[in-house]
């Protein structure tokens, strides 16, 4: 029964009433079943929310206007947070890098208009006295207070701003790392399953090899060989070490699908091997792979924060959640423990891992026809 595999059996075998459904019908059926789980939908909403926070971080917290009208032209200084090179050269020439925006705008052009982020704080520096009308200098480290709801770190940087801007790091690591892992896993697993024979023997050995090294060992060894690891290296390393479960699922699915009648039919029609693999087998093998991928994203977020916590996560100034934990940890042994540097980033990591796990679980139950109606 185990070998029956999960997923795409629905349109061909199960559910006679909906037998007209094709691949699209299968996915809408999955979605129909997914929606039944209130927790799953809630988790999905949280995933969307986290994505929005990550994508719109400069709109939520920053010291640069989202948009401003300066000497007759509109500028978008917040783009700086996405990429430092996207700051308009005109603004750099006008000296906006030297003194903060609110002050400078008032001095240089009293008639300027600016749309500000929700929350005036910067993830990379402290807010100084008089920068924003009525806002005193941010001293650090400080426990949570009205103007710094999550407190500030040693350098007076606002923890909420750092966490908001760190969301994109966590999610980006999850998605990019798992994108790489999915690519490797699908190619290795797919080829092994489709061709079988000696190809399968060799590739299966490869999968076993990767499984036989404890991931943390391989990741630490790989990170350590880099002179100056960046967040992109971390993603690549996680992606290159965490593909084996995807490969195993893909192999199992391709092995199973190879024996089905519609593949035999496709072959009889003279379809080429790539066509059979991409057009006919891949869409039917996707459900378990997506499940493994979702769990993988949760795992990648976990690994990245762990590495950053150990101080191995690349650029030290990047506001990764694990990095904030790393900055707060030494203070626990001292006289003034900075608990807010632990509590809030910890909650962030926990939430991200939890919601991706929940989405993966719910999707697994919704996409696996064997489990239908079994969960009371």
């Amino acid at each position: 029964m185990k070998s029956q595999g999960a997923g795409a059996a629905a349109p061909r075998t199960g559910n006679q009433r909906k037998s007209a459904g094709r691949a699209a019908g299968y996915w809408s059926e999955v979605w129909r079943r997914y929606r039944k789980s209130r927790l799953g939908v809630l988790a999905l909403l949280m995933v969307v929310f986290l994505g929005l926070v990550a994508a719109g971080a400069p709109f939520i917290a920053g010291t640069r206007p989202i948009a401003c009208r300066y000497q007759g032209n509109w500028y978008f200084p917040c783009l700086y947070y996405y990429n430092q090179r996207w700051e308009n050269p005109v603004l750099i020439r006008e000296g906006f890098r030297r003194s903060p925006y609110p002050q400078r705008l008032r001095e240089k052009d009293p008639r300027s208009i600016a749309i500000w982020p929700l929350f005036y704080a910067d993830p990379y520096r402290r807010v100084e006295e008089g920068e924003w009308p009525g806002r005193p200098r941010d001293t650090g480290p400080s426990p949570p207070r009205l103007r710094n709801p999550f407190g500030t770190d040693d350098l007076g940087r606002d923890v909420l701003a750092r966490m908001v801007h760190g969301t994109s790091i966590a999610l980006l690591v999850g998605f990019v790392a798992m994108g790489i892992a999915a690519l490797i896993g699908l190619v290795v697993g797919g080829l092994a399953g489709y061709f079988g024979g000696w190809v399968d023997v060799v590739l299966s050995r490869l999968i076993e090899l990767v499984m036989a090294v404890p991931p943390i060992i391989l990741i630490l060894a790989l990170i350590a060989i880099l002179e100056r690891p960046t967040i992109w290296h971390t993603m690549a390393v996680i992606g290159c070490t965490r593909w084996e479960s995807i490969a195993r699922y893909a192999r199992g699915e391709f092995l199973r699908l190879k024996e089905t009648e519609f593949i035999t039919a496709a072959r009889a029609l003279g379809a080429s091997a790539p066509r059979i693999m991409f057009r006919h087998m891949l869409p039917n093998a996707l459900a378990p792979v997506v499940v493994a991928l979702t769990f993988g994203i949760a795992g990648a977020i976990l690994i990245e924060s762990g590495l950053s916590f150990l101080g191995l996560g690349g650029d030290p100034s990047a506001p990764s959640w694990g990095r904030i934990l790393n900055e707060g940890f030494p203070s626990l042994g001292g006289d003034s423990p900075q608990w807010w540097l632990i509590l809030f980033p910890g909650l962030g990591i926990f939430t991200a891992v939890l919601v991706y796990n929940l989405v993966g679980d719910t999707f697994q139950e919704a996409s696996d026809p064997r489990l239908r109606g079994s969960s009371r």
Binding site: M211, V213, P337
Partner: protein, 330 residues
């Protein structure tokens, strides 16, 4: 069956060779070597090594040769039962460095493994039998949340709560400082270690606990739908006998395989936790030696870890065949 396992062991040895080769290549290509790092440290002490001396030391440590040559030297040493000497400090033998670290790690991981099994079996049975009631749902949700809570985050939370705020438990280490520990009586020493053990064990137990409970529960739910359970009920057995004698025994099969797979986590899964709690174990040794570029010690540890994974997988298969007479490897 003997044939099957002989083949598996041969493949395992081959895999081991590949893993050590890859890791050796990786670590030898890390930027910096132990000498350069040691020289960097000695710079402030005003005892810089002369360049002639430096070259001589490099040669003596074998760092001037290509890493492939180095690997085969390491391998031939290994075949003669010699893991070499450390490259830092007083150049102790690798085995002498690793050996004293095994005890603390095993103390931590064995305690948490036993605890996890002791707690998860009754909890899993409860969840499987009472499936659908609100108590079961609360418990399952709670365990699910625990499962998603990274152990290092939990460790930091525990430290804040129990060590910093309440000051009930020590912050780090395996025992109090030598002068305090030395004056304690034997039960006092045990109590001291126990107090240091509580938080690390709690952190490494809860995650696997959540996983095992889910595992047992889903297996039990699958078993309970089998015909032989219906038969057992139909012949009038008490619910207790049905669950414990008929259902639970059959859920043991996958549980046993799980045991083989946890063998690895026993020694390696604790790098971050050992770092946080200042536990003098294997994981911390590995991290320290990566920083110091101490190639022989890293290789010794990698060998240990990979051996454990392979042995664990083999053990899982073997146990599977032992407990389930339907399985035969031939």
């Amino acid at each position: 069956m003997v044939h099957y396992f002989a083949r598996r062991i041969l493949i395992g040895i081959f895999t081991l060779g590949l893993i050590t080769l890859v890791i050796y290549g990786l670590i030898r290509n890390m930027p910096g070597d132990p000498l350069a790092l040691a020289a960097l440290g000695a710079l402030d002490a005003g005892q810089q090594v002369s360049s002639v001396h430096y070259e001589a030391m490099r040669k003596e440590m074998g760092l001037d040769r290509h890493w492939m040559v180095g690997y085969f030297q390491w391998l031939s040493g290994l075949l003669q039962g010699d893991l070499g000497n450390s490259l830092v400090g007083d150049r102790m033998a690798v085995t002498a460095i690793i050996a004293p670290r095994i005890g603390p790690t095993l103390l931590l991981s064995m305690t948490s493994l036993v605890l996890a099994y002791l707690l998860s079996i009754p909890l899993g049975l409860y969840c499987g039998v009472r499936s659908g009631t609100w108590q079961e749902r609360t418990l399952t949700t709670l365990l699910y949340m625990l499962y998603s809570l990274p152990s290092f985050v939990a460790a930091l939370y525990f430290l804040i709560l129990f060590s910093v705020r309440l000051d009930w438990l020590p912050l780090s280490g395996m025992r109090s400082s030598d002068e305090v520990y030395g004056r304690l009586s034997a039960p006092g020493k045990a109590w001291d270690i126990l107090r240091h053990l509580v938080l690390p064990v709690a952190c490494s137990t809860y995650a696997s606990l959540a996983y095992y409970v889910r595992f047992i529960r889903s297996n039990l739910q699958e078993v309970i739908r089998q015909d032989y359970i219906r038969t057992a009920r139909a012949k009038g057995l008490s619910e207790r006998a049905v669950v414990l004698k008929h259902a639970f025994r059959n859920t043991l099969i996958p549980l046993v395989t799980l045991f083989g797979l946890t063998l690895t986590a026993l020694l390696s899964g604790s790098v971050i936790l050992e770092q946080i709690f200042g536990w003098p174990g294997i994981g911390r040794l590995f991290l320290d030696r990566i920083y110091q570029r101490d190639y022989p010690v890293i290789m010794g540890l990698v060998l240990l870890f990979s051996l454990l994974v392979l042995a664990g997988n083999l053990l899982a298969d073997l146990l599977y065949a032992l407990v389930d007479p339907r399985i035969s490897y031939s």
